[in-house]
């Protein structure tokens, strides 16, 4: 599609698709991280918008991915037929360095909507929710960040532009995390993946913070480089709600003589 400016106020525009290939390829690489050849999803279609962000550009992509069928019991317990996913990615491209800020994917019912992105799904700017990321105050050592209030430094729900030197800030927060928790990664790719998980987790922590009715503070912890699925699988205990367990009789009230 020809590049055109949607409306002066939005300062976002739809670039030619070739300009999207770089970020799209990076997003696909992140999505397929850790998968063996033959099990990787492929990119079917992509569209998106780009706007200036700090020293770089922020791409908001809507991509259709094709998940390959899987019949190998070594790879998937149950046979999986070919599946089409609709994903939205936010990628920051600063001086050629890509950073995945957000990834949301869900199945697309190809029968109803047809393959790929529905033509008439044009996203009006007003629907576009600007997601931004935390500023290093979250990683302050615990005792003295008492007075930081996340909402005052985080343009989560506002339309403010991303902070300047965003990637530099995020890299610094992540480096703090690595030092504090003595974290190391085997490969550069792993480190890149963990950085994108870390950034995504900061957004999740930000939302949890915004919705908490108590006095709790959420932010960087030693689990901040784990995906939700990894955290749940490794540290939590779904057995608790699955099985009734042995029946115990009820304790007598404490004031019962």
């Amino acid at each position: 599609a020809p590049a055109k400016l949607r409306d002066a106020g939005a300062q976002a525009w739809e670039p030619p698709s070739s300009a999207l290939l770089g970020p799209a390829r990076f997003a696909l690489e992140m999505y397929n991280r850790g998968r063996a050849a033959g099990t990787r999803a492929v990119l079917a279609a992509v569209r998106g918008r780009v706007r200036r962000a700090g020293r770089g550009s922020l791409y908001s992509l809507e991509a259709t991915l094709e998940e390959p069928p899987c019949n190998d019991p070594m790879v998937c317990q149950l046979p999986v037929s070919k599946k089409t996913l609709l994903c939205s990615f936010e990628i920051l491209d600063e001086l050629g360095k890509h950073m995945l800020l957000r990834r949301d994917c869900g199945p697309v019912d190809t029968k109803v909507t047809g393959a790929g992105i529905p033509k008439d799904a044009g996203i009006a700017h007003s629907d576009f929710t600007q997601s931004s990321v935390l500023i290093p105050s979250l990683s302050q050592p615990y005792p003295d960040d008492k007075n930081e209030t996340l909402t005052s430094v985080l343009p989560l729900l506002s339309k403010d532009p991303l902070p300047q030197d965003f990637s530099v800030k995020m890299a610094s927060v992540f480096k703090n995390f690595l030092i504090t928790y003595n974290r190391t990664y085997a490969t550069r790719e792993e480190a890149q993946w963990r950085l994108s998980v870390f950034i995504s987790n900061m957004m999740r922590a930000q939302k949890i913070q915004a919705l908490d009715q108590g006095t709790a503070r959420y932010g960087v912890t030693k689990f901040s480089d784990l995906t939700e699925e990894e955290f749940r699988t490794i540290y939590l205990n779904p057995f608790l709600r699955e099985a009734p367990g042995k029946k115990m009789h009820l304790a007598k009230p404490v004031d019962d003589p």
Partner: protein, 214 residues
């Protein structure tokens, strides 16, 4: 119930432990409870073995998860718990090598506690720390303060983490439960999690239990 209570300052709670990369929270919750019961009924605080439960409690699933009610039953059937030193924690399941001669504590029974948080507070103040199970929503990123997630986000029906109530009180008029977690002292408030009290937050009142020691 007294307006506030804290068994940590009364010697009934061992140091915060770390379950490592293993879903063994149920074992830590139960040993924490039995440690408190043994202290309050026998006068000695011993740090007890979770690894024994991982290896020898065949009703539960070691690092894949378990239930406190099964664990109490296993402790009774096995004949007691060894100490942490005698049967130290590995964080993965091994062959059971429990020996009754080495067991330092036993339990007589276990009970399910009320789902009324005031009664739970009264029970805790009088009888000792309580094993509970909660929905761990938000705990991955919890740093400090009293957590009070919106109920739909922290549903009492999606319980997935077992912990230990060790006290309760108020911080600037916000009622809380002081909860001993098993993710090490470098998580939360030196290993502790503070959760809103009185609103059934995250299902904290749905699976409260305790061992009984004569």
């Amino acid at each position: 119930a007294p307006p506030e209570w804290d068994w940590r300052s009364k010697g009934a709670v061992t140091n915060v432990k770390n379950q490592g990369m293993c879903g063994s929270c149920w074992a830590f919750s139960v040993t924490g409870n039995v440690e408190g019961q043994w202290y309050l009924n026998r006068g000695t605080l011993l740090s007890l073995s979770e690894q024994e439960l991982l290896d020898c409690d065949k009703m539960d699933k070691a690092c894949m998860g378990g239930l406190p009610s099964n664990a109490y039953s296993a402790i009774k059937n096995l004949g007691g718990l060894e100490t942490e030193d005698d049967y130290s924690y590995r964080g993965y399941m091994q062959v059971c090598n429990f020996s009754a001669e080495k067991a330092k504590v036993y339990i007589n029974d276990s009970v399910e506690l009320s789902q009324n948080e005031q009664k739970l507070a009264a029970w805790l103040a009088k009888k000792g720390p309580i094993s509970v199970a909660i929905n761990a929503f938000g705990m991955q990123f919890y740093r400090h303060g009293i957590s009070h997630p919106l109920r739909p986000l922290c549903s009492p029906w999606l319980i997935d983490h077992a912990v230990l109530l060790v006290g309760y009180g108020n911080r600037s008029d916000v009622p809380f439960w002081a909860i001993k977690n098993s993710w090490g002292p470098d998580w939360g408030e030196e290993g502790y999690y503070y959760l809103h009290r009185g609103s059934g937050a995250c299902g904290v009142n749905t699976m409260a239990s305790s061992a009984l020691v004569d």
